[in-house]
């Protein structure tokens, strides 16, 4: 099979969107920025937070460990510049799906950006050792979900192929595209290291067709390496091709089982940025302390990609890009489809932040009324999960939990396609988010009700049993007294004695 190939396979649903990426790709990735302060979140990956190994007042250098991995899944956190630890306190930080609270190490930068003594960690022979190296490097998925890389690669089961995700489908975001253009050799090296770890016979790099320069760079880098496992697949430009499940469908035609993971059908997906970070760690000993962030939108003067040290405050990053324009209407972490709006810019860059989208007024939907659903079914045609959003909507409005489940509410990936195509402009995705919460609450209540009912039944049974026993004893005594008054009295005395004993032991029946 050729190294490069083109796939015409179509996605279930999906829509074409204006990419809005060229605003931020005119110039190369801006490097060498040193922030005045960094806020290093100890939980900037999914799983358990890292455990701080520095104290307030400590001097730290760039690349120095500030927090060791917690219990898996977890990843280490390193200082992203040099300076002094000013505080270790809880703050609000951007996570994969929304803002989270996390303990943070706040470092006052000295501006010198002095590196610690960095040496490559080596690539040990055993799998366990290699996973430990990944955890120590602070590696986590940079596509947005920030699952610790070590734990994602620690899957059991046969891996048919490692899929390196360069299908950056979300509008406005161009950080992966720029990284592929500028650092393709590192991406290829990192990807091969991951494939080694997984024992995967194939390493498929998948890129959307609207990124010709990235494809060219990756192809050149792959040819230079000449590893037979490498493949470079050009896929259709369609949203949401970059979703893990959708990309697998595009590449293989297979579907990840509902509620399952890609490895269930033999695939592991990793973002190109993660592959790059892994290569930097293995080759140069530089842990994950910076990531490419797209700063874009009509709300910022000079949209561009910045190699931002982790912990850089949004405000500093926006200032670096010329500051806000007067038009800025909304600040979004991520792109215009799945990104989440944040209330202020006093937030640090974390491993989850791929884009800061300062949207102009005409780049976001106006807060207008909805029309009633006209059942046009466009949402169903657009849904990449194959759902019927219009039916889900009516089930959600009726609070019909059974129907919501049958219609696949939890297979909704919240990609937002239905919102964009809906002529009635109904905020479907948000309704489904609310419905998911309501469903979880409902499940919890059902469970509680069932357990309560069981407890009530057990108690009633216990009482009935006790009563029955008592009645039986009484009956037996009566019988005994009638037949044989003498031994009957003895039996009564015996019973009274037993009762007294029991009372003294404090074991009174209720």
């Amino acid at each position: 099979m050729e190294l490069e190939y083109t796939l015409e396979r179509k996605l279930t649903g999906g829509i074409r969107l204006l990419a809005n990426k060229t605003q931020s790709t005119a110039t190369g990735i801006r490097r060498g920025f040193v922030p005045r302060q960094v806020v290093l979140a100890l939980k900037q990956h999914r799983g358990s937070p890292a455990v701080p190994v520095v104290a307030v007042g400590d001097e730290v250098r760039k690349g120095q460990l500030v927090a060791a991995p917690g219990s898996p899944p977890s990843a280490a956190v390193h200082a992203s510049t040099s300076g002094r630890v000013r505080a270790i306190e809880e703050r609000t930080v951007p996570g994969g799906k929304g803002l989270e609270r996390s303990l943070c190490v706040v470092v006052e930068a000295d501006g010198l950006d002095q590196p610690a003594d960095l040496a490559p960690p080596g690539w040990p022979a055993t799998r366990e050792e290699r996973l430990r190296v990944l955890r120590d490097g602070g590696l986590a998925g940079l596509g947005g979900a920030v699952f610790p890389t070590a734990d994602k690669l620690a899957v059991s089961g046969e891996c048919k192929a490692l899929i390196v995700n360069g299908a950056e489908c979300e509008p406005y975001i161009s950080c992966d595209d720029m990284l592929m253009r500028e650092a393709a050799p590192e991406i290829v090296a990192g990807a091969l290291a991951m494939a080694d770890l997984l024992g995967a016979p194939l390493c498929i790099m998948a890129v959307e067709r609207d990124k010709p320069r990235a494809i060219e760079a990756l192809a050149a880098a792959a040819r230079a390496v000449g590893d037979p496992r490498l493949r470079l697949a050009e896929v259709r430009t369609v949203y949401p091709a970059g979703g893990e499940r959708q990309l697998i469908e595009l590449l293989t035609g297979e579907e990840v089982p509902s509620g399952g993971y890609p490895i269930d059908i033999g695939y592991v997906c990793q973002n190109v940025g993660t592959a790059y970070a892994l290569a930097r760690w293995l080759d140069a000993g530089e842990p994950l302390i910076a990531r490419v962030v797209t700063v874009t939108g009509k709300g910022v003067r000079q949209p561009q990609n910045v190699l931002a040290p982790l912990g850089t405050p949004f405000a500093e990053l926006v200032a670096l890009c010329g500051g806000y324009t007067d038009d800025v209407a909304r600040l979004v972490v991520g792109g215009s489809m799945m990104g989440y709006a944040v209330p202020d810019d006093d937030l640090p860059v974390t491993k989850a932040v791929n884009c800061i989208f300062a949207a102009g007024a005409d780049e976001v939907r106006a807060d207008e009324d909805e029309w009633p659903c006209i059942r046009c079914g466009d949402c169903a045609s657009a849904c990449p999960a194959g759902l019927l959003p219009q039916e889900l909507l009516s089930a959600a409005e009726a609070h019909d939990m059974e129907d919501l489940d049958a219609l696949g509410l939890f297979d909704c990936i919240e990609c937002g396609c239905c919102d964009v195509v809906c002529p009635s402009q109904i905020r479907l995705t948000e309704r489904f988010r609310v419905a998911k919460r309501e469903y979880a609450l409902h499940e919890e209540r059902e469970r509680f009700a069932a357990e309560t009912e069981a407890r009530v039944k057990r108690r009633e049974q216990r009482r009935a049993d006790a009563e029955r026993r008592e009645a039986e004893i009484r009956q037996a005594l009566k019988e005994a007294v009638r037949h044989d008054p003498e031994s009957g009295r003895k039996a009564i005395e015996e019973a009274v004695r037993r009762a007294r004993e029991r009372r003294e032991q404090g074991r009174e029946p209720d």
Partner: protein, 165 residues
């Protein structure tokens, strides 16, 4: 004209007969309504409605013997859902029998408890544990907030606190 009248009249009679016989012959599904009502209730068997449990109350609502606003733990939301299901007007929640809420749990004041065990006996869900003459405790995860333990306590040492706290 005549034939039309005969045909339509005949149809009407035949269909009416069919409906009547269906009503008579097919099994009654009254239980189904009771079940649907019960599913809308919190089903914590607190008996604050004056019925011994949720199912008896549901049956009473289904037969029209009880109002739909007697369930304090269900709150306004349950009243609304019941009104929707039954096509009745939503009534304001009747709190005269209690103000129990699923959002709260019982808490025993450790200093005041005399270990009389009366609360544990009153608890319908075995959420209060303790041996006589010793401090009693509430298992929060089991407590339904039904407040049935409040009246028996001779020293008024039980209070209702938010579940999350």
């Amino acid at each position: 004209m005549l034939s039309a009248a005969v045909i339509l009249g005949g149809l009407a009679v035949a269909l009416a007969a069919l409906l009547v016989s269906a009503e008579r012959l097919l099994p009654r599904r009254g239980d189904e309504l009771t079940e649907r009502i019960e599913r809308l209730l919190p089903r914590i068997q607190c008996a604050q409605c004056g019925y011994p449990g949720c199912r008896p109350y549901a049956a009473a609502v289904a037969s029209g013997a009880a109002d739909i606003n007697l369930c304090p733990p269900g709150g306004e939301q349950t009243v609304r859902r019941l009104a929707e299901l039954l096509g009745r007007e939503p009534l304001p929640l009747d709190t005269s029998r209690g103000t129990a809420s699923l959002e709260r749990v019982a808490e025993i004041d450790e200093d005041a408890c005399i270990g009389c065990n009366l609360c544990a006996r009153a608890c319908p869900v075995d959420a209060i544990v303790g041996i006589p003459q010793a401090l009693h405790g509430v298992i929060r995860a089991y407590c339904t907030g039904c407040e049935l333990c409040l009246p028996p306590c001779p020293v008024d040492c039980i209070s209702m606190v938010p579940r999350g706290a």
